[in-house]
Amino acid sequence: MDNIILIAVSALGGLGLIAAVILYYIASKFKVFEDPKIDEVESALPSANCGGCGFPGCRAFAEATVVSAREIKSLDGLNCPVGGNEVMQAVGKILGLEVEAKDPMIAVIRCNGSTTHSPAKVKYEGANSCAFAHALYGGEGGCQFGCLGLADCVDACEFEAIHMNPETGLPEVNDKCTACNACVLACPRGIIELRKRGPKDKRIFVSCVNMEKGAPAKKNCKVACIGCSLCQKACAFDAITITSFLAYIDFNKCTLCRKCVEVCPTNAIHEVNFKPRKPKAETLTPEKSVSGKPLADKQLVSDSSKTGPENKKEELIETKE
């Protein structure tokens, strides 16, 4: 009896020992060198694996940063949008490199063709996918550039940062947005754009991507950009360009003076997170606001706590995130 146990133990123990020796030999002989910094960098990353950096996951991004640090001694072109500056500084510290601070970005929805502004003329009953509806027709409201409202961007978002507003039928972005670019790629109409978050989250953008002439654009949507170029004339900083009847505000040049918002005849330019203006601001004629001094604007912003005039109120409710 003892003998059997002894044989079994020694046989298995011996096998285990031999296997251990072989494994040890192979492990040391065929060891793949991996920079320990990769692990360090990876642990500093947010582990969201969202792909916003352009790499398939955080590990791949960590490898890329280490290779980049070794070969070109900089992290140019590599950025983790989710972690932002904080994470990139930490990564830079691990790799012993200086990382330039980048402006935090956020996704903005450049369409305001809600159910009230662009009422549905036809009814869509097909598959619940923007990409498919885009291939099929212009849109329920008739605007062939605007939001289709079937929430491909919501599905694409990994951070629960976009949701559909059932009242307007448009998506809304909240503060959880990490600017990972997933929604921008998901939108078949290129409505979503990554823009600078701006100081205190204040930002101004043209909430329209309609490239039609004024009349047909206005026919389908009350708040379409008609390319009238009033905002371009009002802008003292050359921040606004107009291509194919559509204004675009360069966020690097924009100083958030809000003059363009005032002159826009269709309320296509949106301001976000600004304090409501004094009712008086509405009485300013376009000419006056063009020549007005920046000081006047600041005053308007600082001492107004009341709600704005009627037509602005609606807009503010919608843009509040």
Binding site: G126, A127, S129, A135, L136, G138, P216
Partner: protein, 446 residues
């Protein structure tokens, strides 16, 4: 008659509803204004050669082909060019169109307007192809592929059979049926012209068995030419698809991703054959076609001879107005047609019918989960697995979709028609095809 031929895999048999089968072709009056989209054919849109204020005559070239797969467009009316501007077309998007204000109806002098049947084919093979190309003829079955391209087989390939598609498997539509009945002799000459152009000695006209009058009529006419044979086919959707028709008529299978010429066939629609006859024998370019206007609630289901560019509204008015109960206006048939969003949408070369569906008919089913009944797989005429492809397309698994041959899908809608769970299978298949097609194109570019 024995056992009728048909294709082997899949297929469905929707209610035929050929309401307008007995309505003779009727010419609608020339409208006051026509809007002619520049992208009417498959491939590159045409390039306009007229400008605002130009006087045009009926049959005059107004836009020319801008590439190999492209087609000329001729003015369907005489009058003044108002403008070239964006207008909504059947795609649901605004596209460049030529607007012409109609003044009288003066035809180009070179067009022979007599009704006399010209049976003698004087042009040579190359001349026929050139004439077909110049006349802007495209496949009138609905795919609008330029006919001249089909008449020029790639080097090394030889056509053996010309197959004429008189199947008209789409429910409701009767335009081809009426063409066969009323323009039979012209179609036979058109087939002879096409045979001469393709240098083939055998032609088959495939007609479904629900059009016995057309089968008898064409069989009678084809007796004069022993090279042309008419065959009756069992009623089965989508027999009008090129690949299905070849399988049904000749029991040949077109390989995946290849054209019918691979198995020695060229397929043309009966209306295309008629257009070829008019172009070659009468020098009349393609600027009008027969359009069926039908629907269960339509007071006067009709087959109209329409100038290209007439608005859909005009046709509906000619068929005694839009019924109150209309839920959807479809350009084409109920299976493969496309709902239009504006009634002003102009008629184009590919419009075979306008179907006014009732609200109760056109409603979509509520989407329920897949119950794995495999009806879609049995219905697929291409031998695909629609439930699997749909899933792959939904989840963005493009590699898998491509491996499972999503690009072979002919978008016939048989799967969606049979689905008891009301899943929009075809929608997702189309979405998958768009995405996979894009991926393939970028891969080729690289």
């Amino acid at each position: 008659m024995g056992i009728l031929k048909t294709f082997v895999l899949g297929g469905v048999h929707p209610a035929e509803n050929k309401l307008s089968a007995n309505a003779a072709i009727e010419a609608v009056p020339v409208p006051k204004q026509v809007i002619i989209p520049l992208g009417q054919n498959l491939g590159a849109p045409s390039k306009p050669i007229v400008k605002k204020g130009d006087q045009v005559k009926t049959g005059q070239l107004i836009a020319e082909a801008s590439g190999f797969i492209s087609a000329n467009i001729h003015s369907p009316v005489s009058g003044t060019v108002l403008k070239i501007d964006q207008f909504i077309d059947v795609t649901g998007y605004k596209r460049p169109c030529v607007f012409i204000h109609v003044e009288g109806d003066e035809w180009d002098e070179s067009i022979d307007r007599s009704d006399k049947l010209e049976t003698h084919i004087s042009l040579s093979s190359e001349e026929i192809v050139a004439r077909v190309k110049a006349s802007g003829i495209v496949g009138l079955g609905g795919a609008t592929f330029p006919t001249s391209v089909k008449l020029m087989p790639p080097p090394g390939k030889k056509a053996e059979y010309l197959i004429i598609n008189g199947v008209e498997c789409e429910p409701y539509l009767t335009s081809d049926h009426r063409m066969m009945l009323e323009k039979g002799s012209e179609i036979i000459v058109g087939i002879q012209i096409l045979m001469k152009a393709l240098l083939v000695e055998k032609a088959i006209i495939g007609i479904e068995n629900n059009k016995t009058d057309a089968i008898n009529h064409l069989t009678e006419l084809a007796k004069t030419d022993e090279r042309i044979r008419v065959i009756a086919l069992k009623v089965r959707y989508p027999q009008g698809g090129e690949k299905q028709l070849i399988k049904a008529a000749l029991n040949r299978e077109v390989p995946s991703g290849k054209l019918p010429i691979e198995v020695g066939c060229v397929v043309q629609n009966v209306s295309t054959a008629f257009a070829v006859y008019e172009a070659v024998q009468k020098n009349k370019p393609l600027f009008e076609r027969v359009v069926t206007v039908t629907g269960k609630a339509v007071k006067k289901p009709s087959n109209f001879l329409v100038r290209i560019g007439t608005s859909t509204q005009d046709l509906i008015d000619a068929a005694a107005g839009l019924p109150e109960s209309t839920g959807k206006v479809i350009s084409g048939g109920p299976m493969m047609g496309k709902a239009i969003t504006e009634l002003d949408t102009p008629i184009v070369k590919g419009t075979s019918g306008i179907l006014l569906m009732e609200k109760t008919e056109s409603r979509r089913l509520v989407e329920n989960p897949c119950i794995r009944c495999s009806r879609c797989t049995y219905a697929c005429p291409m031998g695909l697995e629609p439930y699997l492809l749909t899933k792959a397309a939904k989840l963005g698994k493009l590699q898998m979709a491509e491996k499972e041959m999503i690009m072979d899908c002919i978008e016939c809608g048989s799967c969606q028609y049979t689905c008891p769970s009301g899943i929009p299978l075809l929608d997702y298949l189309r979405l998958g095809k768009i995405k996979v097609g894009r991926a393939i194109r970028t891969r080729i570019k690289k």
